[in-house]
Symmetry: C2
Subunit: 341 residues, 2 copies
Amino acid sequence: MINYSSSDFASNPFTVTVSRGPIVESHHHVIAAISDADGKLLRSWGDVKNAVYLRSAIKPLQALPLVETGAADALNVTEQELSLACASHNGEASHVDAVRDWLKRIGLDIGDLECGTHWPKYEPAALELASAGFTPTAAHNNCSGKHSGFLSTAIHMKEATQGYIDLDHPVQQRIVKVLEDFTDLDLSRAPIGIDGCSIPTIAIPLEKAALAIARFADPSKLETDRAIACRRIQTAIAKHPHMIAGTNRLCTALDGAARGAVIAKVGAEAVYLAALPELGLGIALKSLDGADRAAEVALGALLDDLGVMTDDIHKSADPYFHPILRNRNDIVVGHLKAVFD
Amino acid sequence: MINYSSSDFASNPFTVTVSRGPIVESHHHVIAAISDADGKLLRSWGDVKNAVYLRSAIKPLQALPLVETGAADALNVTEQELSLACASHNGEASHVDAVRDWLKRIGLDIGDLECGTHWPKYEPAALELASAGFTPTAAHNNCSGKHSGFLSTAIHMKEATQGYIDLDHPVQQRIVKVLEDFTDLDLSRAPIGIDGCSIPTIAIPLEKAALAIARFADPSKLETDRAIACRRIQTAIAKHPHMIAGTNRLCTALDGAARGAVIAKVGAEAVYLAALPELGLGIALKSLDGADRAAEVALGALLDDLGVMTDDIHKSADPYFHPILRNRNDIVVGHLKAVFD
């Protein structure tokens, strides 16, 4: 009479289940694609022709103009700052101080950031700020590093710094061009939304997102300067993983432990893009409901399937890839698991 | 070549879409049932025979023994405290102070709560606590009111107060009996998980959850004492809606504005149970992925469909039922919408 097995997810090619006690309490549907740099799809799950806003997962590509215009060299952008330019950071003191110093060095300040303000995503950082009697600034915004990169490029190119978040500003137009180059798409009629930090976010079919991040992973067939820029950004993230996210964050745990073999970046609404330079592959995935917890588990399952997990990655990233749910008394109450073909 | 319309949700009977710019960015699958007090299903969407952990959505029924044992009267439990016994509260000063006073009056203190500790769910309350140099106690746990009710019943019944969270303690066994009475089910072999606050949570088919909350809404065919207890709890919540949740929370906004016509209670992992006393109906729903944002929108759509919305409810609850997404610069970037047959 009572149905104790959830049937809904059985037919879906890629599901992440959330169990509590003996049954599945909730579940998530995931779409995913693994591509090489020529656009050959190695594997895919679900409708990967569907256009997806990549949100912050695309930040490593959005940072390319910072290097390619020569702004990074001209303005002495450090390797740490280059990682921060790709970040969705926690708003910890280390991130905020780095943004302040960077802006000061290029003759700007926090008031020039157009990303808006929010309390740090990392609860201890927010509580520490509040305990000290402070409120957040735009430097605490998780995108403030990316915006510092945008401002650096605008200054170097002698463009207006005001309005750099608008689609028709050269800063954004250079990014559209990068995305067109990397996806082989004409994006002039693509759906465009506004991101959390107010820049345009462009919907791209998931399989083309996988292609784009595969080309970033293996830039050997791109122009030399672009290939060098891709590798420089990869190195910056791998060497300074704290800057790309922060304490208790998967991107930091994974990108640090992988030592350059995986460059993964989360985006809002449960997107992940991961570059695998050693395999020359790119992974793009989204949990269709926007749940980050599912996207992390799905990414782990794909990396495991591809054989790229090392002892170091297991040690650092397994809490995110195989999460155990504990309650307010620290009792184990459930776990998450990937179920896919 | 590019697919800009998401096809995945077209076949699902009840979906909540999250749009950004011109397209749907994410979406949620919902199951829902509307029942009367005789168990007649008026409407249903999805597999409502599936067993679902009702989590905190069942709190109004978990509070019945507090009244039915005579504990509430013997221990002078106020109407505000009765609402608090059904709460998943914000941990605002008003909630925490009320729990402290209640426990003191029955000769106990915060150390007797077995719910565990967490920072207040309501960010301003957490930041205020941190600013003042404090850390949270078990009284800040969103379930501390329910646990104060459990302790009150144990004291009145001269039972051990220690271990009141265990399934075999009379406090929990009385709740199992209530649930069996209200669902017409033998729950002795039902799946049992551990809830966030460490009490057992029992999986119940969604259609039977709708029946249970319909009987709570229209208790006219129940024993007189039980019917009186149901109405007393309804009144307590309707008259003291701040106690059941708090600032910026749907349950408080809706249950206050509805003036007794709707008693809705959220549960973790996107469950809602809503009693409609004037119609003699009960609503049970869950977003299958556990996303609260979808459960709120789905509840609004069902209340609208049933014709129970008033100007007051619209005014208070529309921000939850028809949410507009704004970014860090307060720019409108998207919205949520229910799509169902």
